[in-house]
C-alpha cells in the first residue's frame, strides 16, 4: 500500500466515523499546524469536522514584552544574543532580532543550546545569552545545556527563559469555554517528554478526549480517526513508536532540577499562573533576567492584530481583517504570520487555490 492509499483509507474511515456529526478538534502543537498545512490535510477531512489551531506555537504565544526583553539584551554592547531561528523575524514592539543584527548588534542563530555554550567558552570576553523558547520538548534540552555550562565552569553564559508548559493553557482555554471543543490532537513531541498521562486531566476534569499523534500525514489522520471513534473521552497514544504514558523521566527530572514553575504571560491568553519555567535557585546564576539590567520599554500590540483570537481557536486566520492584506509572510504584523508554524503563516503559505 502506498502512502497515498494508506491516507485515503484512513480518510475514508474518518469520514464514516464523523458522518452526520459536527466535530471541532483542536491541535496544540505548531509542528502539527505546519504538517497539516503543508500536506493539505484539511482537504481530506469530512465536512462537519473542523480542525482548529490552538496556542501550540511557542513563538506565537510569547508576549511582545518578552521579545522586547530579548531585543534589549541584544543591544547590550558585550552581549552576543543567541536564539533559535524561529525568533529572528518576530515583530517586537519596535524592532526584530534580525533588525538588531542588521543594526550592528551581535545576534546569532543556533540549532542547540550546546552551540551557545560552546560559543561562550570560545568568547570569554563576551557574555552569551540564549533566548530559551519552547515547551516541554525544548526546555530539557536547554536545561541540559545549562548543566553542561555549570559543569564546565562556563560562567559567561546565561539564559533568558521564556519557556512555557502545555497543560496550563489547555485548562485556561477549557475554563474560558469560548470554543466548544470535542477533543484534542495532543502534541507528539511534548508528550515524549511529559508522557501521555500528563494530559489525563482533559478526560478526567473536562470530559474531553485527546489522542497523541505523530507528524506524518498518516499519523495525523489516524489520530483524528482515533478521536472520532472514542467511545468515551480518554487519552490515547497513536504515536506509540515514541510516546509512553509516563514519558521521559530523566528529561522530567532535568527540567525539575534546572527550572521551577513561574507565572507566565501568554499572548492571546493573558497571564496564566504556574505556566512558565524560570531558573531554579540552584541555577539562578545562569538567569539572564537577573544578570543584566535592561529597559525594554513599553510593549506595543500592533493595531488590528487578532493573533490572540487565532491562538484561542476563536477565529480561523482568514477571519482576521489583516490576513492576506496588511499581514502576509512578507509583511507580517503579528507573530502568527511570521513564525513558520504560526496558524496564519501555515494557512497562508500552504493555502489551496481558491
Amino acid at each position: 500500500m502506498t502512502e497515498r492509499d494508506k491516507i485515503e483509507a484512513a480518510a475514508a474511515e474518518l469520514a464514516e466515523a464523523a458522518a452526520g456529526r459536527s466535530l471541532t478538534y483542536m491541535e496544540v502543537c505548531g509542528t502539527h499546524t505546519m504538517a497539516i498545512a503543508r500536506h493539505g490535510l484539511r482537504q481530506l477531512l469530512p465536512p462537519g469536522l473542523r480542525l482548529v489551531s490552538g496556542p501550540g506555537c511557542p513563538v506565537c504565544v510569547t508576549a511582545i514584552g518578552d521579545i522586547d526583553r530579548a531585543v534589549a539584551l541584544a543591544a547590550l554592547p558585550d552581549v552576543i544574543l543567541t536564539t533559535f531561528g524561529d525568533l529572528m523575524r518576530v515583530p517586537a514592539s519596535r524592532s526584530t532580532l534580525a533588525d538588531e543584527r542588521a543594526g550592528g548588534s551581535q545576534v546569532r542563530v543556533v540549532y542547540s543550546a550546546f552551540e551557545a555554550v560552546e560559543l561562550a567558552a570560545a568568547e570569554p570576553d563576551r557574555e552569551v545569552v540564549l533566548v530559551g523558547i519552547g515547551f516541554e520538548t525544548t526546555a530539557p534540552t536547554v536545561a541540559a545545556g545549562i548543566i553542561a555550562a555549570k559543569e564546565r565552569g562556563v560562567k559567561n553564559f546565561s539564559v533568558l527563559s521564556l519557556h512555557k508548559t502545555m497543560p496550563a493553557p489547555m485548562r485556561a482555554l477549557l475554563d474560558a469555554g469560548e470554543t466548544p471543543l470535542d477533543g484534542f490532537i495532543l502534541p507528539g513531541h511534548v508528550s515524549v517528554i511529559t508522557g501521555a498521562d500528563a494530559f489525563d486531566f482533559l478526560a478526567d476534569d473536562y470530559g474531553v478526549g485527546g489522542v497523541v499523534a505523530g507528524f506524518e500525514p498518516d499519523d495525523v489522520v489516524r489520530g483524528l480517526l482515533a478521536l472520532a471513534t472514542q467511545e468515551r473521552p480518554a487519552i490515547q497514544i497513536e504515536y506509540s513508536r515514541a510516546v509512553t504514558p509516563e514519558g521521559n523521566r530523566v528529561a522530567q527530572e532535568v527540567i525539575e532540577r534546572v527550572f521551577e514553575p513561574c507565572d507566565a504571560d501568554w499572548r492571546g491568553l493573558g497571564p496564566i499562573p504556574g505556566s512558565g519555567l524560570a531558573l531554579s535557585p540552584e541555577f539562578r546564576d545562569f538567569d539572564a533576567a537577573e544578570r543584566f539590567e535592561i529597559d525594554p520599554g513599553e510593549p506595543v500590540e500592533p493595531k488590528g492584530c487578532r493573533c490572540g483570537d487565532v491562538l484561542r481557536g476563536l477565529i480561523d486566520p482568514s477571519e482576521c481583517a489583516l490576513f492576506g492584506t496588511r499581514c502576509t509572510p512578507e509583511t507580517p504584523v503579528g507573530a502568527c504570520m511570521v513564525s513558520s508554524e504560526g496558524a496564519c503563516a501555515a494557512h497562508y503559505r500552504y493555502r489551496d487555490l481558491t
Binding site: 501550540g56 506555537c57 520538548t137 525544548t138 502534541p187 515514541a242 528529561a251
Partner: protein, 78 residues
C-alpha cells in the same frame, strides 16, 4: 512544536553521541537518554536525543530514506 527526527547512533563518547541519517552526521547530547547506545535509533530535537525509538516502528519512517537511496545512483560515491 517541535521538529525532531529519528537518527541512528554510530558512536558514543561519554554523554555525547555521533548520530547519522541519510548521509548527515552530527553530535548530539545523550544527557536525556542515558541508556542509549551505538545502533539505537533516537529522536533528536535541538541537538539532544529525547527518546530512544522502538526500532521496528522507526524503520517504517526510515524506509522513506531507503527508498530514496535506491533511486540515487550517486549514493555509493564517497
Amino acid at each position: 512544536m517541535c521538529l525532531a527526527i529519528p537518527m541512528q547512533i554510530t558512536a558514543v563518547e561519554g554523554d555525547t553521541a555521533t548520530i547519522e541519517l541519510g548521509g548527515v552526521t552530527r553530535r548530539a547530547s545523550l544527557m536525556l537518554v542515558p541508556g542509549a547506545d551505538v545502533g539505537d535509533y533516537v529522536l533528536v530535537h535541538a541537538g539532544c536525543a529525547i527518546t530512544v525509538l522502538d526500532e521496528r516502528e522507526a524503520q517504517e519512517r526510515l524506509e522513506l530514506f531507503a527508498e530514496l537511496e535506491e533511486c540515487d545512483p550517486e549514493a555509493d560515491e564517497p
